[in-house]
Symmetry: C2
Subunit: 238 residues, 2 copies
């Protein structure tokens, strides 16, 4: 085992690996609940839906937590990954925009069980204030700064309509939030050092649609579209 100082734990883990660590963590929790004490890279990889070589290389970035000829101790590895991600204790999170999606997010039990605690629900609309959602009452958006400061919030979730998203992000950043999960269908501009992850439902569907179209081959509708396209083309370039 390599001794780890407080500095070398900060060495760079590839972004692609970081994105998969939560998947491994969830697979390990599943194995632990099923009563499995030990697992091979092959088993864990199958549970996580990835290649076993990739899994081993990913884990090797964290350290040498397996035993050759044996495999990985499920509980031990689970803890090490949780520690590396930083979800051994809960992160406070604020959700802004309590529409349909905001409701769903507030009620999502997976947050609490996976390292996050929703400390506040905010909405600009006074109609929604003091409404109780998932046991938390909705407060004015203007309370953002005080909540962030009091609770040490670093992560914010934007579930507002697209037009409001940039303004919300600006206020979040000014209040001290450094990481944003954005559900609004907009590209957010944020200063250097602020992380934004975007979840866009329509885009996911559109990517699927492209592949459906590809798999289906050329359909009649496509042919008509293509003809239209060529006509347009001529009009424009002629």
């Amino acid at each position: 085992m390599t001794a780890r100082t407080s500095t070398d734990s900060a060495r760079d883990i590839p972004e692609a690996t970081v994105a998969r660590l939560p998947v491994y963590l969830r697979a390990l929790v599943g194995l632990a609940e099923a009563g499995t004490a030990t697992c091979s890279s092959e088993e864990l990889a199958a549970a996580a839906g990835v290649n076993s070589a990739k899994l081993r290389k990913d884990l090797s970035h964290l350290g040498s937590y397996g035993t050759r000829g044996v495999g990985y101790d499920v509980e031990y590895l689970r803890y090490q990954i949780a520690r590396e991600i930083g979800v051994t204790q809960d992160w406070p999170v604020v959700i802004v925009g309590i529409g349909n999606l905001g409701h769903a997010l507030a009620n999502y039990s997976g947050f609490r069980s996976r390292g996050f605690r929703v400390v506040a629900l905010l909405d600009a609309d006074p109609e929604r204030h003091d409404e109780l959602v998932a046991g938390i009452d909705v407060r004015p958006f203007d309370d953002l700064e005080s909540i962030v400061a009091d609770q040490g919030v670093a992560i914010g979730v934007i579930a507002t309509p697209a037009v409001a998203a940039q303004a919300v992000a600006d206020r979040m950043v000014a209040a001290g939030i450094t990481s944003i999960l954005n559900f609004a269908p907009t590209v957010l501009a944020v200063p250097e050092g602020v992380d934004v992850r975007k979840v866009d439902l329509s885009i996911e569907l559109q990517i699927l649609a492209y592949h459906v179209q590809r798999k289906a081959g050329t359909t009649l509708a496509d042919d008509i579209d293509r003809l239209d396209g060529q006509l347009d083309d001529e009009e424009v370039t002629a």
Copy 2:
């Protein structure tokens, strides 16, 4: 301009490009609504939040739709991208699992305006049947096969709890659905040729948490965790 036959339009567009086309499409819609008739790759790239060289390379995979020295015609390019993705006409979509998230998805207006039409909401729980959500009544999950067959549905959305997701996916595939958008926190096993895209809220937050932890540097809590880790380590490997 290269002439396009019906076969060469099926040539391979890199996956990374496919994932960005919907972003460009949305940016173009925004520009069109703002009354812009023409835009340069630099302007469009800024609106989409990407590098202009990357944008030009992406668009070059579709064909030569710009004019050197001028830029791109907004409406024309918008149509070409929509056609390439396949969202010039609406795709029928079924949503399974009408809990909090299912409600939010059913009510999401962005689907309709971006090439998708929710044709059915399904839930296994009889308590929910005939409830009206977003103007569509919730039907039994067992109606899946007939709906898929009647409406020619190729895309399914899974918004059920994790335990039900695999069974739902299996039924979807058997019914003829070839593309699945999965919101349940599970790895789905599907046959070759079926596309699955996964949206996992906890995982997105955990990725953010990792970066917050990195940015914050080593905290006291981390040190305690690390000590714990080393103790565990000794226990296990001793």
